[in-house]
Structure formats: C-alpha cells, structure tokens
C-alpha cells in the first residue's frame, strides 16, 4: 500500500495517520503483559541468576568452578541430561503407534482415545505421580498381580529407581509428542500409504520411506518440547526416583531450602536455563516459534477405510497398549480411593468413604482446597485480561514486532517452573508476599498468561480480518464491532484460555512449594507433602476429586467443541 503512487495525497495521509494511531493503540494493549513479565519474570530471574556470578560479595566464577569440581554436581548434571534424553526417546517410541491409531480409527473411537490422552494431560503431574506410586508400590496392585500369577517370586522394585523415573516422566510428558504426531498423521494424505502399498512396499518400507519422513517434523517438535520440560522436572523424579536419579531441579531446591547456598543454586539454574534456551533456539531454527502458537493444524485428511498392513495391525496393538499405559493409573486410583485401610491396596478389601471423610473433615485439606480455588480464580482473571489484551494488540502490529513479542510471551511457559518460582521467592519473600498469597498469584499468572495469549492469538489468526473491516465499513464503531463481531467469534477460545489458566494455577506444585507457607498452601502442595513425607491415603482421594473435576472440564470442552463443529 505504501508503494502505491500517491495520486491522491489526502487519503494517504489520513490512512497513515490512522495507521499510526492504530499502532499506538496496539502497543498500549500489549504493554500491560510486557511490563508484567519484565517485572515478575525477566527481572527476578536476572537478579537471581546474578547470584551465580558472586561469591563473598565479589564478582567471581567460584560457583561454576565448584559445580565442575564437585563430582556429585557433575553426576547430577549428566544424570539430568541422560534422563531427559531417555524420556524423550521413550515418549517418541510409545507415541508413534498411539498417534497412528488415533488418526486411523473412526471418529467415536478416536474421541475415546483423545479422552485417554487428554485426561492425564490435563490432570496435574502430582495426581498422576500419586497414582503411579499407588499402582507400582511393593504392595501395589501391579506387584500383587505379578506375584499371584507367578511371573515373579519377589515384588519388583518399580519405584525409587531409574524405572520409576522413566515410567513417571514418560507418562507425564508423552502427550506433548502424541498431539503433534497425531496432527502430522492427520495431515498426511491417506492415499500415500495406499499408493506405497500398490507400488509394492511392505509395512516396514512404508514406515521408513513414507511415514517417518512425513511425520518427523511433528515428532522433532514434540521431542524438543519434551526434552525442554524434562531437564527442568522436579516433582516426578523427586517422588519416583531414588538418590541416583536426582535431577538438577531438585538440587536447586535443596541448595535453597536446605543448604541456603543461593550462589550455587543460581549457578545450577544458569546451566538449566542454558539447556532450555538452547532447546528453544533449536526449535526456533527448525520450525519457528510461531509453530508453538498455531497449535495442531488439523487438515482432516480423507478418512481412508483401507485394509491395514500387518505392520499396521501390530501398531494398533501397540497403540492400544500405549493408551492403556496413559489411562491405567487414573482408572486404578479411583477404586483405591474408596478403600478404608491405612495403605493403598488394589482392589480394596473393603469399600468406604473413610479417606473422603478425612479430606472433608480435616481443616488443613479444606483450607488448602479453598486456597487453591481462590488463587486459581484470581489468576484466571489476571491471566485472561493480560493475555487477551496483549493478543489483540500484537495482532495489529507489524510482522517483525509480532515475531519478537510472540517469542517474548512464549518464553515464560518454556522456562522450568522451578526457576521462575525460586526467582520470585528471591524477589518477593522480603516483601512478605509469600505469606499472603500475592507471590503465588504472580507466579501462576506468569505461567498462565502465555497460554491465554497463545489461545487468543491462534483464534485471531484464523479470524477473517475482512469481517472486522466489513463491520467497520458498515458503520460500526470499533467497540460495537468488537462486541458484535469479534467477541462472539473469540468467545470459545476465550473460555478455553481461561479454563487453561485456571487449570495451570490449580495444578501447579512447584511454584506453590516456594511461594506459599503452611498457612496459605495450596492443595497440590499439601498433597506433595502428603506423599513426600509419609504416605497419607487422603492424597489419593484428593487426587480423585481433582481427576473428577478435570474429567468434567474436559467433557464439557469436548461437548462444547462438538457443538462448535456441528454449527459450522
């Protein structure tokens, strides 16, 4: 438009002026989230990491030297990378058959499988870890089954070792690969595998020459996200691993809470941050960060009703096993919560509401639940407002600015929660913000606002800008246009973003560990304490309450999503 010959100078000037004011509005809209993140994300992390470069109030690299020279730190760093890499590989391998299955079954079965993937995905890592601990324990149902059937004589130690960490973390992180991989399978023309078959290719060749090259972008994207998450993982390795599986996040936490060595903690955090930034950089190089925003693009390929190849049938079996792996702990934990014994047993010899009663009658559980709800609702409001205005603003900016701000807004959800949590603790503890829940609200908003931002940005992208122009051209003022045209179109995403924000806050443990006290702790924090110290079965009933809530939200969303589709 700017290159057009200015035959009529007046309109061009008007247009330029209008564009100028539009840009100003856009910057103004994006500003709150920018300022918020500078103050409560970039600022705290920078000042926390500064500690790494100081020893005895002097600028020095002593902390890093200490990291390199102490075997235990070296071992933990190597451990962290090894475990993260192993988990990434496991996620990819197990996701393939499942994603294939999801993409090739009928819509009804696909929906059930989606539920099996999304229910664990949406329920907190803590709930899932609880379920696994209950399921895999020495006296747990799996060992009981194995010894009764006679597969093994002695119970297998699944927990507090490498196996435990692998099972727990793979379970938690697998959906990050399954979902993009599913999208890749769906985006693949179904006729391609038919074509390969007709040209003489067998299962393995089809996989190697057609499926693998065409799905690898989705897999690599998912794998990077898994790796990025895995290096900073805290809860699962600390609860399901043994001393030999200590990861860097746990070490950071120990240095702060037990050793009170902030310098060393900051040095470890720098290493962790470096790993995450490298992963993000790699992702950006390979795919562009905007891929994180566009989400799953479901082209909806022609559902090909063809005979499966032998390899396809084998994959179906493996896919079903993967789905069972995802949903099993959640299914098993429900009957266990209705047991009455001091230890979780499956199946319970006697059913009762003992642990639910305990949950409702013990004031610490009720208080924690209340505190979680309160924090969650406040965070939802803040995150939704900040994220939505920022998305509306960025949408109007030049593409260069868009790229930068997209990256800036995405970073907080990529940085491990432990880093943000510790940094905020470092910043806000002196103000007394930890004991009055202000700190945890800030922390959760840092985590949740990017989700809202991404959801709304994706929705705005798919919104036809001509609608906006048409409404304005028909004489609507901008606020009227927003109310009558944009808002109704954005509403599903707005609700989705808000729900996501709430769940993010409600599920978080890591930040709550640092940013709340005994008096205002959230439910996940109390559950964590319930597992970490001595196993309190109330945790299982609490988990089931959370699972039920998640399942309801999910079913609501699925139903809502269906309605959206059917009205199209």
């Amino acid at each position: 438009m700017s290159t057009a010959v200015p035959l009529m100078p007046a309109p061009t000037a008007v247009m330029r002026a209008r564009r100028h004011s539009r840009n100003k509005m856009a910057v103004l809209a994006a500003l709150p989230l920018i300022v918020f993140l500078l103050l409560f994300f970039i600022g705290p992390i920078a000042s926390f990491l500064r500690e790494a470069f100081y020893a005895d109030d002097q600028l020095s690299l002593a902390n890093f030297q200490h990291l390199v020279n102490t075997p235990i730190y070296r071992i933990v760093l190597v451990n962290t990378l090894t475990i993260a890499a192993a988990v990434t590989v496991a996620c990819v391998v197990i996701s393939y058959p499942l994603a294939y299955l999801m993409a090739t079954v009928g819509p009804r079965v696909a929906q059930i499988l989606f539920f099996a993937v999304l229910l664990p995905f949406w329920s907190s890592a803590l709930v899932r870890t609880t379920a696994w601990i209950a399921l895999l324990g020495k006296n747990g149902p799996l060992n009981a089954l194995l010894t009764t059937v006679g597969v093994v004589d002695e119970p297998i130690a699944f927990l507090y070792n490498f196996t435990g960490v692998m099972i727990g973390m793979t379970h938690v992180l697998m959906p990050f690969v399954v979902l993009p991989l599913y999208a890749a399978f769906r985006g693949m023309d179904g006729a391609l595998t038919q074509a390969a078959q007709s040209l003489g290719a067998r299962s393995l060749s089809i996989f190697r020459h057609v499926v693998l090259p065409l799905t690898s972008p989705g897999v690599v994207a998912g794998a990077i996200i898994v790796f990025m998450n895995a290096v900073g993982y805290y809860i699962t390795p600390s609860l399901m691993g043994g001393p030999a599986q200590r990861m860097v996040a746990e070490l950071i936490s120990d240095n702060i809470t037990k050793e009170l060595n902030w310098g060393l903690a900051a040095a470890l955090a720098s290493v962790l941050l470096l790993a995450v930034i490298l992963s993000l950089w790699l992702f950006n190089r390979l795919f562009g960060l905007d891929k994180l925003i566009s989400g799953t693009s479901d082209k909806g390929s022609t559902a090909v009703s063809a005979q499966r190849t032998p390899g396809g049938r084998l994959s179906v079996v493996a896919g079903i096993c993967a789905a069972v792996f995802l949903i099993l702990p959640i299914i098993v934990v429900v009957p266990m919560s209705f047991g009455t014994s001091e230890f979780p047993i499956f199946p319970p010899p006697e059913y009762g509401l003992r642990w639910y009663t305990n949950f409702l009658e013990d004031s610490k559980w009720v208080n924690a639940l209340w505190s979680s709800l309160k924090v969650g609702l406040i965070v939802t409001v803040f995150a939704t407002v900040l994220g939505t205005t920022a998305a509306l603003g960025v949408e109007k900016m030049s593409s260069r600015r868009k790229t930068w701000l997209d990256a800036f807004f995405i970073v907080p959800m990529s940085v491990p929660a432990i880093l943000t949590g510790v940094a905020l603790f470092y910043l806000t503890a002196p103000w007394g913000a930890v004991s009055n829940s202000v700190a945890v609200v800030i922390g959760h908003t840092v985590l949740a606002a990017p989700y809202v931002y991404i959801t709304i940005r994706a929705a705005l992208r798919s919104l036809d800008t001509n609608l906006e122009l048409a409404a304005l051209g028909l004489g609507a003022s901008w606020p009227t246009m927003f109310r009558l045209v944009m808002l109704p179109a954005l509403l599903p995403s707005l609700i989705g973003g808000a729900v996501f924000a709430f769940v993010t806050s409600f599920d978080d443990v890591v930040m709550a560990l640092f940013l709340t006290t005994v008096r205002n702790r959230t439910l996940p924090k109390l559950m964590y304490e319930g597992i970490a110290h001595d196993f309190d079965p109330t945790v299982i009933s609490a988990s089931c309450i959370l699972i039920a809530a998640t399942a309801l939200i999910l079913l609501g969303r699925l139903a809502f999503g269906n309605k959206k589709v059917s009205t199209k």
């Binding site: 006729a191 038919q194 074509a195 007709s198 040209l199 063809a306 005979q307 190849t309």
Partner: protein, 343 residues
C-alpha cells in the same frame, strides 16, 4: 507435447496388460450393501471405464481390484491367478489416485523409482527404466523437482509414470483427471488414449463424467446402486440404451410418454422443429423458452407439458422457430425414438 513411441500396427499389437475377471463380488459396510453381486470381465488391452454417480459402487469395485478392500464374497482374478487374498504389494497393479498421491518429500525421480526400489531392482536398471518411463510422459527435464513444484498436469504425468514404470498387469485410475481444468483434461485424455493403445495396457478407469467415459473407453460399465445396469461399446450404449436411466445418464435425452405404459426417448439432435417436420413424424405442440447459438447448431429449449425439451437445430433455423415465447411444433421420426418400459 507428443508421445513418441513405436506405434504397433493393430494386428501385431503386443499387450502389456493382463485381463481381470471379477465373479460374484459382494461387499457390505455394516448394514449398507455397497455391491450386492457384481461380475465383470475386463479383456487384455481393454480401456474399461466404470461410470456411475457417487455412491454407485464404482470406487468400491476399483478398491477391491486393487486390494484396498476385501470382498465379503466372490473372487478377483488377474491373468487367471486368483488374487482375492493376495496382499496389495504382491498384486503388481499400477494405480493412479484421484489427487495423485505423489510422495511430497521425494523428487519426481525418487517417486518414479520407488516401486523399482521396493522390488530390489539394481540401481543401473532403475536409472534406465525410470528415464525411459519419464521420457514416455515427457517429464525427463522435471525429474529433480518435488511434487509441489509441479503443475497439476505435470503431477498427473509423474503419477502415471510411477504407476507404469514397473510394467503392471493392469492400470487402475480413480477419477485421475478430476482436478484438472477442461483444456488440460482434453490434452491428457488424448495422451492417455495414445499411451493405452501404444503399450497395450489394460486400464480400469473410474469416473462420474459421462463425456470423459465416452472419449476414452473401449468398454463402458454403467453402475447404479452397486449393480451393473448395462455395459458395452460407447456407441452401443449411446444408441441402444437398455433403460431410461442409461439413456438419461449417457448423453442428453428427452423423454415423452409413448402411451401404453411406455416411454419414448429421443436425443436432441434427432428432434425436428417446425418446417423440418415431415408428414409421418410424431408431432407435439410446445412453446419456446430460450434458444442459444453454439456455432455448430442452435440449442432450443421448448416447454412441453411440465418438461423442458432440448433440440439441436441446424444453424439456418428460422427466427420464428427460436423466438422465446412463440408457439412451436416439434417432433421426431418414429425410427429415431427409443422405446422404454415406463418406470
């Protein structure tokens, strides 16, 4: 683009293709019966088109020949060999898909060499055969391109090369020209026809486009609701349709009541107007709705009872016989009418 191959004289024709025999094919999806009981012979070197509306079962039939679907009953024989239970990869069938299904991550060369690589052919031999086949469809210069860098017509030719390079027993084509614009379609139809003739391919072609079917085929099979209604040479089907359905489906046709539970069908080019009518002709009185000039003839739309009758009249048609709103006598010779039992 010309396809230069050694043209064989009709008597010395060598057939690359084999014959296909389907007998008693039954296929149901749950309670819906797609194909109740279909038997079909496709001769060696025949260009056989399965013609029908969507849902007529033509694509299901093609998939059963290819092996993408298993029939619930019946057998599929290719070159006398029962392949009903043979995996697709072992059937040696070339298939051109509706949207070509070229592998998007492979160059044209790699796409075309794929079936040879699957058959563990040596690399020198692969090079030779791929280049020969690409030459056949004039794609040699585009061998290093990726599918997305090709036009629709070029993709079509690459897909054809890939389906031919391993000398398949039969070539199956599932509405392969559907995505092309009309001019390109006609060019490719000609090339395909020539390729078919010169190589002696057996082709089973699926389409819903009756004009395309007429242009291409030696043998047309008309399907409706999973059943073969009529099959034969294109001109036989056009001139002697066995039913009102076939007459209406293959080319334009006007229907009038013939009395005595009979329907008369007449093609537009056999309709005579006004002064062209002879004494002995069957006559009707109608009213002109509209008339258009197509170069070859006038196309006159006549309102008769509740129907619209279409007539192709010679270019010298008088103005009175093509003025909208005017009354017009029309009719046809008794021997030009096709007689059907009324539905």
């Amino acid at each position: 683009m010309n396809i230069a191959i050694n043209a064989c004289s009709p008597d010395s024709r060598q057939y690359l293709g084999q014959n296909v025999v389907l007998s008693g094919i039954h296929k149901a999806y749950g309670p819906t019966v797609a194909l109740p009981n279909v038997s079909l012979n496709v001769e060696r070197g025949q260009f056989c088109t399965l013609l029908g509306a969507s849902g007529s079962g033509k694509t299901t039939l093609l998939k059963i020949i290819a092996g993408f679907e298993k029939p619930d009953a019946g057998t599929v024989k290719i070159a006398g060999r029962d392949v009903t239970h043979t995996p697709i990869a072992d059937r040696n069938i070339g298939m051109v898909f509706q949207n070509y299904a070229l592998f998007p991550h492979m160059s044209v060369f790699d796409n075309v060499s794929f079936p040879l690589r699957m058959r563990k052919v040596g690399s020198d031999e692969i090079k030779k055969r791929v280049n020969e086949t690409l030459d056949l469809v004039s794609m040699t210069k585009l061998a290093t391109r990726l599918p997305r860098e090709l036009s629709g017509g070029q993709q079509q030719r690459a897909a054809l090369a890939r389906a031919l390079v391993f000398t398949p027993d039969i070539l199956l084509m599932d509405e392969p020209l559907g995505a092309l614009d009309k001019n390109l379609r006609q060019t490719i139809q000609l090339q395909l026809k020539k390729l078919h003739h010169d190589l002696g391919l057996t082709i089973v072609f699926v389409t819903h486009d009756q004009e395309e079917a007429m242009h291409l085929s030696d043998h047309i099979v008309i399907l409706d609701r999973g059943t073969i209604i009529q099959q034969g040479l294109p001109e036989d089907l056009y001139r002697k349709p066995s039913s009102e359905f076939v007459a209406g489906f293959l080319g334009e046709c006007n229907f009038v009541s013939g009395g005595d539970r009979k329907t008369l069908g007449v093609r537009p080019d056999k309709v005579r107007l006004a002064t062209h009518l002879a004494e002995s002709d069957i006559r009707y009185e109608g009213r002109i709705l509209m008339s258009t000039f197509s170069g070859l003839h006038w196309k006159v739309f006549i309102e008769y009872q509740d129907k619209t009758i279409v007539a192709y009249a010679p270019g010298d048609l008088s103005e009175a016989a093509r003025t909208p709103g005017a009354a017009l006598s029309w009719g046809f010779r008794r021997q030009d009418a096709m007689e059907f039992a009324a539905a």
